[in-house]
């Protein structure tokens, strides 16, 4: 059914929409426009000499094999974080959906990590995995596994993926649990009566019904992994060792804020912006089609 409110004049609807439009202009369109402009300039840090260079910053970026590596690394990182965070949350949600003792307590505990600041999460993981002072890190070295994420790129990547995914599990858990609870009991009962058990029942009955939620979470998690993990990565490895954990946002920050190269940093931001626009468009397309068809 379609719902539509009919306004008699045009003043009221404009007044109602204006605050939202103003917010969008001030907090998105204006700064995004500034970013696009400065991505086409080359300036010294103080902005004393600003020179228009067109697409030079962008072409320089993609001519740099190190930047292309960073793009690929970011994609790998985002996919790993998303898969890990969604599947771990799925396992926990399915478990929490059963009748178990202390269910309320269990659920609250699972939600806590979401409220932790990225830098604090990073410190927690450092305290666990630091080769000299970390609980697990020391133990690993003690049993003969050379664990040192400061000089091992693979281990460093593993660590930032774990820390980033861990922080997002709670968020996914809430959505998946809500999704599971909205599945009619009768459907699950019917499947049980028909003899569907355990993982088979999950795969053939629960999962398909949960797919809209899972898809939504995948998009949200990809965006999270691409942007919000900056604090965690910066605090744990600052992009090192080598460039092993340098994702696109880390590079934007390093080039813009540390190296004071505004032009290149803006060009990288524009690349990221295009990425988000594509992701969002995909999300609207798929989710829109699903709800439209239902």
């Amino acid at each position: 059914m379609e719902r539509r409110t009919i306004f008699s004049g045009w003043l009221l609807p404009v007044a109602l929409v204006l605050p939202q439009l103003a917010l969008t202009v001030v907090f998105f369109l204006w700064p995004a426009g500034q970013a696009i402009w400065s991505s086409a300039t080359r300036a010294d840090p103080f902005g004393i000499r600003t020179e228009f260079v067109g697409l030079d910053n962008l072409t320089d970026l993609f001519a740099d094999p190190l930047y292309v590596d960073t793009v690929i690394r970011s994609v790998v990182f985002c996919v790993c974080v998303t898969v890990l965070a969604v599947s771990a949350a799925m396992a926990l949600a399915v478990t929490a959906d059963r009748e178990i003792r202390f269910r309320g307590f269990y659920r609250i505990m699972l939600i806590w990590p979401y409220a932790i600041a990225p830098a604090v999460a990073a410190v927690l993981w450092i305290l666990l995995l630091h080769p000299q002072i970390g609980l697990i890190g020391r133990w690993l070295n003690g049993i003969g596994i050379a664990w040192d994420y400061k000089i091992n790129g693979f281990q460093a990547m593993l660590m930032v993926i774990l820390a980033s995914a861990w922080k997002q599990v709670s968020y996914n858990f809430i959505f998946l649990l809500a999704g599971l609870q909205s599945i009619p009991r009768s459907v699950v009962e019917a499947a049980r009566m028909d003899g569907a058990k355990g993982f088979y029942r999950f795969r053939t009955v629960l999962l398909p019904l949960l797919m809209p939620t899972v898809f939504f979470l995948m998009v949200v998690n990809l965006v999270y992994a691409a942007f919000d993990t900056f604090g965690t990565i910066w605090a744990i490895t600052a992009g090192g060792p080598g460039k092993a954990t340098e994702t696109l946002v880390v590079k934007v920050y390093r080039d813009g804020m540390v190296n004071q190269d505004v032009g290149s940093s803006s060009a990288q931001s524009v690349v990221l912006m295009v990425g988000v626009i594509v992701l969002t468009a995909l999300q609207f397309r798929f989710l829109g089609r699903r709800s439209g068809g239902a």
């Binding site: 700064p31 010294d44 103080f46 000499r49 000299q132 070295n141 400061k150 080598g242 931001s269």
Partner: protein, 450 residues
């Protein structure tokens, strides 16, 4: 994505503390604001300078404000200048010197201030290794030296004894060093997984930049960048490759351990986990507070196959830069001049040195500390000064004048870390550093020339 907004926001944040103390300043006095990046005991010392200066004269009121790390402070100052609200003085780390020299109208260099206000600041009063870093090629001073340190080799004397080494004779050459750490590894570090024979903070500064200075080998063309923006890195020369190879070999042997970038390895020595730790002389205060073992500092080793007459090391630390703003008055510059004269007094310099562990930046401050018997009470506190005054200051040892040097240091860390993982050998590592570093230098050259 929102770079400008971030800048504007940073500027707004940066500006707000200026307004608040401004309201408190007494009427009739010229208000001065100084932004710095000092923490702990060094922060207290900045506050002391503020108090003493305000007590010593009545024309100006100085407000010292902590702005975060060195890069944060620089970023805040840049943002504030863009917004027309820069503080009169800002503390900028030594590697930001190239950037500040390219800042044109944003800064007023010390010699310009002297011309305008007649401030009495004599460049000859400063240690040559300090003065050189903050001066133009023709000797005019660009910024005011404040806190200077230099890398030294911290030694755990208990570990030396256990390993059968003479605690009074730390290795002087790299040849001796390589042998000494083997003994330290076998007889001391092998006792626990936490212990290591040696590690180093500031690999870039201590093991490469100072290495070039000690052996009188150029780090970059054009007198390490002092003679022109069209400078190029020379760190893939045999001397540097040899040093990197030595570090890699020792890492493989287990006699040297890489424990992080910049100063993050500092605690490893302090907590007694490394027998030898290269680090800044400014860490002395922290070591004195934390170390539960006998320790001493020594001058950085030199390679006996490359030189018989090692030179001075290069300073680190920071200097004070005078910033401009649209509404700056001559009275404010006058007040800045009187503050710089105040800080440059031998008594102030000696006090700052003795309170912080940074070296005295003036020769008179050093002499005064000697007269006061500071080095008899604190043996070894003058190692840094000895290191800075060893040999003669040459074009290769007075420092580096490279734009975006922090970025170049970061590139070296990245490539060195790759080498430690066995992804490339020493020559390849330094070749890549030169190639990537030169791209940065060209970008800086273009941005400054416009």
């Amino acid at each position: 994505m929102k770079r400008r907004t971030m800048l504007a926001g940073a500027a707004a944040l940066a500006v707000s503390p200026v307004v608040v103390p401004g309201a408190r300043a007494q009427a009739g006095k010229t208000k001065l604001v100084l932004w710095h990046a000092m923490t702990g005991a060094n922060n207290d010392e900045m506050d002391r300078i503020g108090r003493d200066f305000n007590a010593a004269q009545s024309a100006a009121e100085l407000q010292v404000i902590y702005k975060g790390t060195y890069p944060d402070t620089l970023t805040a100052a840049i943002a504030a200048w863009r917004a027309g609200q820069a503080p009169q003085l800002v503390q900028v780390f030594e590697v930001g010197t190239g950037t500040m020299l390219g800042a044109g109208p944003a800064v007023k260099q010390v010699w310009q201030l002297q011309q305008e206000t007649g401030a009495k600041i004599d460049p000859a009063a400063y240690l040559p290794a300090v003065r050189g870093y903050y001066s133009l090629a023709d000797g005019r001073m660009a910024s005011m030296p404040l806190n200077s340190s230099t890398p030294v080799m911290w030694c755990n004397l208990d570990a030396f004894e256990t390993a059968g080494l003479d605690p009074s004779k730390p290795p002087e050459t790299w040849q001796q060093f390589v042998v000494a750490v083997r003994a330290l590894k076998e007889k001391w570090a092998s006792k626990s997984q936490d212990l290591m024979a040696s590690t180093s903070s500031w690999i870039t500064w201590a093991q490469l930049e100072c290495y070039g200075a000690i052996h009188n080998v150029p780090y970059a063309t054009k007198a390490n960048g002092f003679d022109g923006l069209d400078t190029e890195l020379k760190i893939n020369a045999p001397a540097f490759v040899k040093q990197v190879q030595r570090l890699l070999d020792m890492a493989k042997e287990g006699t040297f351990k890489y424990t992080g970038r910049d100063n993050t390895p500092d605690p490893v020595f302090r907590t007694g986990n490394a027998a030898i730790g290269f680090g800044s002389s400014a860490d002395r205060g922290n070591i004195a507070r934390d170390a539960k073992f006998r320790w001493a500092a020594a001058v950085l080793p030199y390679d006996a196959e490359l030189t018989k007459t090692p030179n001075n090391t290069i300073i680190g630390g920071a200097s004070l830069w005078i910033m401009t703003a649209p509404n700056r008055t001559p009275a404010e510059y006058k007040a800045v001049a009187s503050l710089l004269e105040f800080i440059g007094q031998p008594a102030q310099d000696a006090l700052y040195h003795q309170h912080t562990g940074y070296v005295p930046v003036t020769l008179a401050g050093y002499e005064l500390s000697k007269q006061q018997g500071f080095y008899e009470k604190n043996p070894g506190a003058d190692i840094a000064i000895k290191s800075l005054t060893r040999g003669s200051v040459t074009e290769n040892s007075k420092g580096l004048r490279l734009g975006r040097l922090p970025e170049i240091r970061n590139i070296i860390y990245e490539e060195f870390e790759k080498a430690l993982q066995g992804q490339q050998n020493a020559q390849q590592t330094m070749d890549v550093c030169v190639a990537r570093g030169n791209v940065v230098l060209r970008a800086f050259e273009k941005s400054v020339k416009g």
